[in-house]
């Protein structure tokens, strides 16, 4: 490596000798508090939205289960009455004279 290049490298490595510390934003504290408050509001809002959707899903699921239960119950009752009718040769829909 030639002298000139060596000197340039040394000068570059020494260029941050005596470097002073950079100064941070004097309004940093205010920015931090604003951000934390904004984040807190976002969490509360998100929580409310999630709760509302969860409640809606529960209500719909509840309606579906109730409907299925009622249908199941009426199907069973119909089967019982048809079995009874066929046992006693009664056709619930036609009457033979």
């Amino acid at each position: 490596m030639n002298n000139h290049l060596e000197n340039k490298i040394d000068k570059t490595l020494q260029s941050i000798d005596g470097i002073e510390r950079a100064t941070g934003n004097p309004f940093l504290y205010g920015k931090i508090m604003n951000k934390m408050n904004a984040d807190r509001k976002a969490i509360v809002y998100t929580g409310k939205v999630v709760f509302r959707y969860a409640f809606l899903i529960l209500v719909l699921a509840g309606i579906n289960f109730f409907t299925l239960y009622k249908k199941e119950k009426s199907t069973k009752e119909k089967m019982i009455s048809e079995a009874f009718a066929s046992e006693y040769f009664i056709n619930s829909k036609t009457f033979e004279y």
């Binding site: 490596m1 290049l5 340039k8 490298i9 000068k11 570059t12 490595l13 020494q14 260029s15 941050i16 005596g18 470097i19 002073e20 510390r21 950079a22 100064t23 941070g24 934003n25 940093l28 504290y29 920015k31 931090i32 508090m33 951000k35 934390m36």
Partner: protein
């Protein structure tokens, strides 16, 4: 304010205590982060994240080290995460450019960072040096930045990095060697 008293007050979410902490460590954190990320806007955003993390995690602080050690550790960690994220975005942008997406511009990879604390006559050389520092492996970059830019002692750096003092010395030795190589290659191409 005594450190234990300060920590205790912040754990009770005392805003005056937290303000005191921010004002005490603002310049230290900013200078450290800036030296890693080499962009003022990014450094300010990361500084916010550092202090928010300190506030939210203060209950986890176990008083096994000094609070400044813990704060520096968070600052270094967030800076390195930011650099990794930036490299990923660059790689993605490069791939997009291969598919002819002209809208994505790749930032030219060259010395650009003007640290505000460098003396005027050293500005040009320091830009090249910071460019070379950014090319070092993470641990060497951390050790070099904390000692040479932030001015911390080897003992302080060893606490922050959670390595021995001799490891810090070894990292600095290797960093200097690598910097010489990087600078030699740079100047041979650019003289």
């Amino acid at each position: 304010m005594e450190e234990l008293q300060l920590i205790s007050l912040i754990q009770k979410k005392d805003e005056n205590a937290f303000r005191y902490l921010v004002e005490t460590y603002n310049d230290k954190v900013f200078n450290t982060v800036l030296s890693f990320v080499q962009q003022v806007e990014d450094a300010e955003d990361i500084c916010q994240e550092v202090f928010i993390e300190v506030y939210q995690s203060i209950d986890k602080f176990k008083n096994e080290s000094k609070i400044y050690t813990w704060i520096y550790r968070i600052a270094v960690s967030k800076s390195l995460d930011h650099l990794k994220s930036k490299k990923r975005k660059k790689r993605f942008a490069f791939l997009q450019s291969l598919f002819g997406n002209e809208g994505i511009s790749l930032a030219a990879d060259k010395p650009h960072f003007d640290h505000p604390g460098v003396q005027l006559e050293n500005k040009e050389h320091s830009k090249v040096l910071f460019y070379a520092i950014s090319k070092l492996p993470e641990k060497q970059q951390t050790a070099f930045t904390l000692t040479k830019v932030e001015g911390l002692s080897y003992a302080e750096v060893s606490e922050i990095m959670e390595v021995s003092v001799s490891s810090v010395e070894s990292l600095l030795f290797r960093a200097n060697q690598n910097l010489r190589t990087l600078l030699e290659n740079y100047y041979q191409k650019n003289l």
